[in-house]
Amino acid sequence: MTTRASALLALTSAAVAGLALAHSAPNSFVKLRFDTNSVRAEVLVPQSELSVATAAERTTDSFARYLQRHLSAETARGLAWTVEVKSVRDTTYLEHDYLSAEVVFTPPPGSPVREFVLVDDAVTHEVRNHTVLVLAQDAGEPRVLGVLQYPARKLAVNH
């Protein structure tokens, strides 16, 4: 980065923090934390894009019920994990209104907790440019595990 560009960024960073996604359509992300027996996920979905998706489905489901229809996990052999939406709250990120859900994925007995297939087509079932960024959160910076965009709805996780 040039000195000038650095200075410009420093000067404007606070002002532009909210605009970074305002100029391009906001995307979703799923941040995974791996516990001993389960995987906890923070799922953030932008309300603007969610409203496009739910309008197309003509559904008035709650966000939790919507997620239960569009977010799941399974073993590599296709055995379903248990998915529980623990809580939902409104939040903002970069000046966009988001819905944030705390979701717990629990594998079938005997299945590894760090190796599974995440199945997620929330919003992407309708919004063709939308992406779901899947991150692993251990100590330190989150690590990108992959990106889902229509028609892809499955991501193999081996972390």
């Binding site: 532009v16 923090a17 996604l21 100029h23 391009s24 894009e49």
Partner: protein
């Protein structure tokens, strides 16, 4: 509407001299100076370098590696800072020399689009006081690698709403990725009317209107942006990262499902609209950069395997309207979004990628 002939706002008083004016580009109806010929571009770059300070030359010259090549964006420079020589910092002599580089690489249409989009940024700067980098001066030029007739190198010219990425001497023809957009779509400045994407949006809209007669051409879903654009990586509690072409190489649809209608299923008059849409995008670089690609895109075999589709309003009058050309190599898309500076208005994003030859085939994962 009165459309201005040529913007001279950023290149004030410059007569295009020092290079023969070609009679006519193949794809662009008006002449350009260099036609995209590599030697003409190299000569113009060498002349520019002689006018620059050491620090400016260091800004202009960057290594031809993935990290540099993918550093283009559709986001304002206050959000995704660009590398390169900032055109807004140049004195008159340097400005003229930089102009000759652009004129050598671009068609007259491509040069005019660069001019007009820079004017649009100045219009936004006046109406939107948020410090996010709207500014016609915030456009940059970079030369990646050593300009040569033999070895691969790149010329990048870009800023908020345009990204020209031309690769010379690559393994493949290097016209792409080529992003362009316009906010506002139409505007008035200094007693002139502007519509930077008038040719491309008209060509895509003409195609979409024809496709609207064919239900199978309608793409499923909704489009709120281009599909194969830059990737912003949001991290809660932090500034986002990315915003550049970190998603390269892209994956593209395969098979026939949800790709629209095949070119071969269209009537001859509508087939002509597909070719016109392709040529409206491909006419932006100099003809020497694009003529081989267009010949490939429009070969009988390629057209036979080219899909076209649309979504939303065929006349592009509403948010989420979208048109796409999706061939064995070509990927061209245009989407209508809500404007950012004035949410009551609309703006365009458009993207041309080549499924095989983005970055001249020189950049990998």
């Amino acid at each position: 509407m009165k459309l201005r002939a040529t913007a001279m706002v950023f290149w004030a008083g410059l007569a295009i001299a020092g290079g023969a004016v070609h009679a006519k580009d193949t794809l662009c109806p008006r002449p350009s100076t260099g036609d995209g010929q590599s030697q003409a571009v190299i000569t113009a770059i060498q002349a520019l370098e002689k006018t620059l300070s050491a620090a400016q030359r260091a800004s202009l010259e960057r290594p031809f590696v993935r990290e540099s090549a993918i550093r283009w964006s559709n986001l304002p420079v206050g959000i995704v800072p660009r590398d390169g020589l900032r055109l807004g910092d140049l004195d008159e002599k340097q400005n003229h020399a930089a102009r000759r580089v652009a004129a050598a690489a671009l068609s007259a249409c491509g040069l005019k689009m660069l001019d007009d989009i820079r004017v649009a940024d100045n219009v936004l700067k006046a109406v939107d006081e948020r410090k996010i980098g709207w500014d016609g001066g915030n456009y940059y030029m970079s030369v990646l690698g050593m300009p040569s007739d033999r070895t691969p190198w790149m010329l990048q010219i870009g800023g908020h709403h345009i990204a020209y990425n031309f690769t010379f001497n690559g393994k493949r023809d290097g016209a792409t990725p080529l992003f362009f957009g316009s906010e506002p779509i139409q505007f008035h400045a200094a007693d002139l009317e502007y519509e930077p994407l008038v040719h491309q949006s008209s060509a895509m809209s003409n195609l979409a209107r024809a496709l609207a007669k064919r239900p199978e051409a309608k793409l499923s879903g909704t489009f709120t942006d281009v599909v194969k654009g830059v990737v912003v990586i949001p991290v809660p509690g932090k500034m986002p990262t990315g915003g550049t072409d970190t998603g390269f190489p892209q994956t593209y649809p395969t098979g026939s499902a949800d790709r629209g209608i095949l070119y071969s299923a269209l009537a001859p008059a509508d087939q002509a609209l597909v070719r016109a849409a392709i040529e409206s995008f491909a006419s932006l670089p100099g003809a020497a950069i694009t003529k081989t690609l267009v010949a490939k895109y429009e070969s009988p075999a390629a057209l036979a395997d080219t899909y076209v589709g649309y979504s939303g309003q065929p006349d592009l009058s509403a948010e989420h309207s979208y048109v796409r050309v999706d061939g064995p190599q070509v990927w061209m898309e245009l989407v209508v979004q809500k404007a950012v500076a004035d949410a009551s208005k609309l703006h365009y994003h458009a993207l041309w990628r080549d499924k095989q030859s983005d970055y001249g085939g020189e950049i990998g994962h």
